[in-house]
């Protein structure tokens, strides 16, 4: 047990608590703050980011409005770098009552809020996406604020004035001695010890948790937890805060903050500030109301939804939480409850935190018998990074551009650099990835951590030098935290993204198989699964590029294949082998470029955590509707054999057989089963126990060799990790996997690599590199490195793009071309026309028109949710995107997903059900349509590790069937 003495103890590390800490410190008190998790973990980190002008409250709560505008002015002065001067509109939409206007204007006047009516045309010029049907627009000094940054800066200022802050110190109970609160008993979650803090005065600044803290010393009062749900849209369609000009209500505001626009908010009383869910009806309501301000907003990409709990204090519990005053309350428990040494400050809004702190510390001074004036409104907050006034949307991009830091990006969505992350870990003492997120704003963009998470985990491990399981747990916890925010809004593009992230974390990196527990005591609290059954209305889904296009003649072939992934390419290759003239139309490149470049046939059976050792033996245990069961073991064997021959002839042999899986290391060091692997990877097989050295390249952020090695150690493999500094890489401002692959094809570059490795003094009998060892000549590159290093060199697949995947794609494309087939990129199929006399046509999208590709048979290989062949809309409908063929039923949107990110998610098993010849069972536009690859129902290929096997086997079967139908027709 640790002991700590302080003059004043502040409980709660949100805006209010840190504000109090700073004020105390500036007035010369010895002050200490404890927070149960990281700073801003509570409500401060979970609001929409509005710095109120007060306009919102002028009619309802004039007292709060005055506080708002006063503090608005102060905060703009002392922390401009945390504020974006967006300005704010109050607009009267067709749904709003114009009678409110005089009250609004009178209220603004009374509160001293500068307000100007601006012409609607001017408002629309400034915000072109605003509802053109608005009748009035009033401008007020609203702004948006970065509460994470503001809290950090506040604590930094407090520290500079001598204060202490202990995050991850959970108060278990306050300590009461007679009629006095004398401190708190805490648990240090990081150090794993109890801490007793004694103090002359304890200030309870725990917001919605305030009642709970006070109850620990027998003091009873009610702080209602008012849950506010918010929805973030992927981009800032507005640059001004836009409010509805009416009495406060749900969904009446859109706040542009940093890179997103947030629609807020609901207000629901919840019994427990740590146990609540975001319900579908709330998301729907936000989008419906948002639609009134910005028509079309509900069709934009929704990034995530979350909720915070407002602390709403009043002496008597209210019926509707909106009726509770937004003004704050300072409770002196000596006067109220006869308990000395204890103050509670609660209620209020983020924007008034400084004023709340001021009145609290004024009271503290009186209690402690001193007279010291507040100066928090006079002194600017410190900041290490920026002294140029208000922040603005383009600031990070401008900084990256100016400093040419783009090669150093860790979070590509939010443009956070390696230096930012390292600073957060060093200076911010970040323990979890969520701590890093709050500090540098990361993992909050479209991919919700897809790319930055493994990088941050790797950096956390490298910088902190803590046990690797800490990084593993941090990674898993953050994934779960993001999943929580995604669950209410996973449809459309976010569903596509979730599937790609699933490919990365579940399969490519095998995060679930990393050693260590699933969660730690440091993990975030607050999660419940949605319970409500309301489904969200369909948002506009796919908008055709041009409304009406003429259709022009394209290419006539025997077989038209839709989709350029492994399923489509192998179907096309087999069709050409069968003598059919074949064309592939593909919107873009397929999932080969996202995965390992190995051939997974079957890695896991449902219900088993242990990997399958022999795919051949496990095949019998698959259900009858599994794609393998549909096409038969024979088709699988032939497809695999054919592909092995093809790659061998292409000088890039795949090794292995259906009889046994390799067990290869992932880029985080987990063991991953796969059936066929290129010869460039197989020396990394973990069924062998001989030592290995993992080599990363400085400047290439997708492999952290020490993290890989330490995780392998946990599997019992002697491994070491080392990063090498290669001059050619260092000279470039950025490198990508494909750029490195081209470097490795040069003999001189390989010499540099060998020299750099020699300088480290590390060696082993087998050496693993990121999978960038050449593009067209990888086996030669690996052989040369092996020979010169005197070791078996192998590759480890990294985050997309996958160089090994590109190699396989190139081999297949060449094979198709060599047999007269064509692959047409950038040609998106939008329909199938079966009405014509002569066969069947695939209709594609083109500039200014549509085009017709005529054939005798069609193979649909559009890849399911991962490939974009299945679209999930917000109403829970799953549709096949080309021909509208029926998709298997996986229940309503609430049934799509499990509660935890690593669980089984039924939606990922959705697809087109077929008969044994791969013709759709229902809804096919023409009998000669065949289905291959990820579009098929009956399997979750990422979960069971069968992505490439299913693509090859069904591609083979569908290609052959399509060719057979087409050529027999031609012959007759």
């Amino acid at each position: 047990m640790r002991k700590h003495e302080t003059e004043v103890l502040v409980v709660g590390g949100g805006a209010t608590g840190t504000g109090v800490l700073r004020d105390l410190a500036m007035r010369g008190f010895d002050a200490t703050l404890v927070e149960q998790r990281d700073l801003t973990h509570g409500t401060t980190g979970r609001f929409h980011g509005l710095l109120h002008s007060g306009g919102r409250y002028v009619v309802k709560d004039p007292e709060a409005a005055v506080e708002c505008i006063e503090e608005n002015r102060v905060l703009r002065r002392i922390m401009p770098h945390c504020i974006e001067d967006t300005s704010g509109f109050f607009v009267v939409t067709p749904w709003d009552d114009e009678d409110f206007i005089p009250d609004f204007l009178a209220g603004c006047r009374a509160a001293g809020i500068p307000t100007a009516e601006i012409p609607v045309a001017e408002a629309l010029r400034r915000e072109p996406l605003l509802n053109p049907g608005i009748s009035h627009c009033f401008e007020v000094p609203d702004a948006s604020a970065d509460a994470f940054l503001a809290t950090q800066a506040t604590v930094e200022s407090a520290r500079q004035h001598g204060a202490t802050a202990f995050p991850y110190h959970e108060v278990r109970t306050l300590i009461r001695s007679g009629d006095r609160v004398v401190g708190a008993r805490c648990r240090d979650l990081v150090g794993g010890e109890d801490v007793v803090i004694t103090a002359d005065l304890v200030i309870n600044a725990t917001g919605a948790w305030a009642g709970r803290i006070a109850a620990s010393v027998g003091i009873d009062f009610v702080v209602q937890a008012g849950k506010g749900t918010m929805v973030a849209i992927n981009h800032r369609m507005l640059n001004t805060v836009v409010n509805r000009c009416k009495m406060p209500a749900d969904g009446d505001i859109i706040v542009p903050i940093r890179t997103v626009a947030v629609i807020g908010t609901t207000d629901e009383g919840v019994p427990d500030p740590e146990r609540f869910s975001v319900e579908p009806w709330e998301v729907q309501l936000m989008l419906e109301e948002g639609e009134k301000l910005v028509p079309g907003i509900s069709g934009m990409r929704v990034l995530r939804a979350w909720a915070g709990v407002r602390p709403l204090y009043q002496e008597e519990a209210a019926e509707d939480t909106r009726d509770v005053t937004r003004a704050y309350a300072l409770l002196d428990h000596a006067a109220r409850d006869g308990v000395e040494g204890f103050l509670t400050i609660t209620g209020g809004k983020w924007g008034t935190f400084r004023q709340m702190a001021e009145v609290t510390v004024d009271s503290a001074c009186r209690k402690l018998g001193v007279d010291r004036a507040c100066r928090t409104h006079l002194e600017e907050l410190p900041d290490r990074r920026n002294r140029e006034g208000y922040h603005w949307l383009g600031e990070r991009l401008a900084r990256i551009e100016k400093e040419e830091d783009y090669g150093d990006l860790v979070c590509e969505c939010e443009l956070a650099t390696r230096a930012d992350v390292v600073r957060a870990i060093h200076e911010g003492d970040a323990r979890t990835i969520d701590d890093v997120r709050r500090d540098v704003r990361l993992g909050m963009g479209p991919c919700q951590g897809g790319w930055c998470l493994p990088r941050v985990a790797g950096l956390l491990h490298e910088v902190r030098r803590s046990p690797v399981v800490d990084a593993n747990v941090a990674l898993r916890e953050f994934l779960q935290e993001r999943w929580k925010g995604l669950l209410p809004v996973v449809w459309g593009r976010q569903l596509h993204q979730a599937r790609l992230d699933d490919l990365i974390f579940r399969s490519l990196l095998h995060v679930g198989a990393l050693p260590g527990p699933a969660s730690s005591p440091l993990g975030p609290v607050m999660y419940e699964r949605p319970t409500d059954e309301t489904t969200v209305e369909a948002a506009p889904t796919r908008t055709p590029h041009h409304a009406t296009e003429p259709v022009v003649a394209g290419v006539d072939r025997d077989v038209v294949v839709v989709g350029g992934g492994l399923g489509g390419l192998s179907a096309a290759w087999h069709a050409t082998l069968a003598g059919a003239s074949t064309v592939v139309v593909t919107k873009g490149l397929g999932s080969l470029i996202w995965h390992t470049g190995c051939v997974d046939v079957l890695g896991y059976l449902a219900g088993f955590d242990e990997p399958v050792e022999s795919p051949a033996a496990a095949l019998d245990r698959l259900p009858a509707d599994h794609p393998y069961a549909i096409v038969g073991r024979d088709a699988l064997s032939r497809a695999i054999a054919g592909f092995r021959t093809l790659t061998e002839d292409g000088g890039y042999p795949l090794e292995g057989s259906l009889e046994s899986n390799h067990l290869l290391p992932t880029a985080l060091g987990a063991a991953r089963p796969t059936c066929l692997a290129p010869s460039t990877m197989t020396a990394g097989d973990l069924r062998r126990r001989d030592p290995m050295l993992i080599v990363g390249l400085e400047g290439f952020s997708d492999l952290y060799p020490r993290m890989v090695a330490h995780n392998l150690n946990a599997l019992g493999i002697p491994a070491r990790g080392v990063s090498i500094d290669v001059p050619t890489v260092r000279r470039r401002r950025f490198v990508t996997a494909t750029i490195l692959a081209s470097f490795f094809e040069r003999e001189a570059f390989r010499s540099e690599v060998i020299d750099a490795l020699a300088r480290t003094g590390e060696n082993a009998s087998r050496i693993g590199f990121p999978a960038v060892l050449g593009l067209d000549r990888a086996p030669e590159v690996v052989a040369d490195l092996s020979q010169r290093l005197g070791a078996e060199v192998f590759e480890i697949p990294t985050l997309p793009p996958s160089v090994p995947g590109i190699r396989l794609q190139n081999i297949l494309r060449r094979a198709i071309g060599a047999r007269g087939g064509k692959v047409l990129d950038n040609v998106e199929a939008v329909g199938i026309d079966a009405a014509g006399q002569s066969g069947i046509s695939v209709i594609t999208e083109a500039a200014a028109r549509r085009q017709r590709f005529r054939g005798h048979s069609v193979v649909l290989a559009t890849g399911g949710i991962l490939g974009g062949g299945i679209f999930g809309s917000s109403d829970g409908r799953l549709s096949e995107t080309v021909a509208g063929i029926e998709v298997s039923d996986v229940g309503s949107r609430l049934d799509w997903f499990g509660r935890r990110v690593g669980e089984y998610h039924p939606v990922f098993q959705a697809g087109v059900e077929t008969s044994s010849d791969l013709r759709p069972r229902a809804g096919s536009p023409h009998p000669n349509v065949f289905v291959a690859g990820g579009l098929l129902a009956g399997a979750d290929p990422i979960r069971e590790g069968s992505l490439e096997g299913i693509a090859l086997a069904t591609g083979y079967a569908a290609g052959a069937a399509a060719a057979s139908v087409a050529t027999s027709r031609v012959a007759s």
Binding site: L124, R126, P128, N234, H235, R236, T259, M300, R301, W392, L393, G394, R396, L397, E401, E404, Y406, E412, C413, L415, P446, C447, G450, R493, H496, L500, P544, H546, E549, P550, A553, G554, V555, V583, V585, K587, G588, L589, G590, R733, F734, T736, T738, I739, L799, P800, P801, I806, K822, D825, N826, V827, E828, T844, E845, A846, A847, A848, Q851, G868
Partner: protein
């Protein structure tokens, strides 16, 4: 992401950034990022940086100017992010914000007005050709305007195309009337392409009209000079709209001009009025049009051309998203073996590699194509886009022709220049 004139259902190019799933496929396709680290790549510039831009804010950009606009990224994107267009608009915002100095603006505006430049020199083509080939002049142009002295400036190849066209007797068309939208290069520098096209279409029974036309505006668009591009596009639409209303096909032999009329100008400039859309709907690449004739059985009588022809489909052609119609039409020529380059961009990217700071990038981008052409060793190489042809010839020394010349030759229509030279030994 603004402008009010966009009809419902047309998605502004920036809105497509919401489609990005960050998958990095575009990064593997970009030909510029691997050869210069002044350009961090398409994902960074397009969907990522796009979230940090807003019309009402200052432009935060610099490196986006190094996007060549080749659209290799768009081509491979599985979710339909219009990266190249997002980048083009970001560059226009830089221009509007004054991010470029006066010299760069002057240079860009010169390069972006090929027709005006061509018209200026047309009275004395011999003199201009001599000046353009004369090292000191090129050195001066580089010093004054930062136009690289090595870049492949075109030379006049005789009297302007329209003079030839006007000098001919009108030919009636039993198959109908076709509008030929000529490229600036056809007017001055590759008039033979225009002559071959007219002869070919007349051979097929069409009456050919060559209407008044300005430059399509693409060079202005790719230099971020949007207000001028808007004027050019408007003038062209006004000139073409009567033909579109009459249901006539408007064909072009420059894949970039036709793409601009079809899509680039409307989408980049947010010009989606009925006239502009109707003109777009009637605009065809020449081979797209010929392929339609072939589908109707109206393109017959092809004579054998026993030769192996290296062919590079230009980026602007692939951006039509039609596959490669020229290959399909050339497939109909007996004994002709067309070998597609299978590589990306030639590097010139319109006016991009004319600029001193970008010349070497363009040459490095084009290297795989140059190697392909050199490996083939054929007397000519075919490519549908003019500046690409000049770049290929610049990079390899091999004369470059338009595929329409091949089709014309196969139909027995008179061709001139390098193709005529190449065919002579065959007969």
């Amino acid at each position: 992401m603004t402008q009010a004139s966009r009809p419902i259902g047309v998605v502004p190019v920036e809105a497509t950034l919401d489609n990005c799933i960050k998958c990095n496929i575009c990064v593997t396709a970009c030909p510029v990022a691997p050869v210069t680290d002044l350009f961090p790549g398409p994902k960074y510039e397009g969907p990522q940086a796009g979230r940090f831009r807003h019309d009402s804010q200052p432009s935060p950009d610099r490196s986006v100017d190094y996007c060549s606009g080749c659209r290799m990224c768009n081509e491979v994107c599985p979710t339909g992010v219009r990266i190249a267009e997002i980048n083009a608009r970001a560059r226009a915002a830089m221009v509007a914000d004054g991010a470029f100095g006066r010299r760069a603006r002057l240079r860009n505006n010169l390069l972006a007005r090929p027709l005006i430049l061509g018209d200026l020199g047309a009275p004395a083509p011999g003199l201009v050709n001599w000046l353009f080939s004369f090292a000191p002049t090129r050195w001066m142009a580089e010093k004054l305007f930062a136009i690289d002295r090595r870049a492949p400036l075109p030379l006049y190849d005789g009297p302007r195309f329209r003079r030839w066209f006007a000098s001919r007797p009108a030919v009636g068309g039993k198959a109908g009337t076709i509008v030929y939208f000529t490229a600036c290069s056809t007017e001055h520098y590759e008039t033979r392409v225009g002559r071959a096209t007219v002869r070919l279409l007349e051979h097929l029974g069409f009456q050919v009209i060559v209407p008044e036309a300005r430059c399509c505006g693409l060079p202005l668009l790719s230099n971020g000079e949007f207000p001028a591009a808007r004027r050019y596009h408007r003038a062209n639409v006004d000139s073409l709209i009567a033909h579109a209303r009459a249901g006539r096909a408007i064909v072009g032999t420059s894949t970039s001009c036709t793409l601009t009329l079809k899509e680039e100008a409307p989408d980049l400039l947010d010009v989606h009025d009925d006239d502009s859309s109707l003109v777009a709907a009637h605009t065809f690449d020449i081979h797209e049009f010929l392929l339609g004739l072939a589908a109707e059985g109206a393109l017959t009588g092809m004579q054998p051309l026993p030769m192996r022809l290296p062919y590079h489909p230009p980026c602007q052609y692939r951006a039509h998203r039609l596959g490669i119609p020229a290959t399909e039409v050339m497939r109909l020529v007996p004994d002709l073996e067309v070998v597609e380059s299978g590589v990306g961009c030639c590097g010139i990217a319109g006016t991009y590699a004319y600029k001193t700071e970008k010349y070497q990038i363009g040459m490095d981008v084009g290297r795989p194509l140059f190697e392909f052409v050199a490996r083939e060793g054929a007397p000519v190489v075919a490519c549908d886009s003019e500046t690409c042809r000049w770049q290929i010839t610049h990079g390899t020394g091999v004369p470059a022709i338009h595929p329409v010349e091949i089709v014309a030759a196969a139909l027995g229509v008179e061709v001139e220049g390098p193709l005529a030279d190449a065919l002579r030994p065959l007969y």
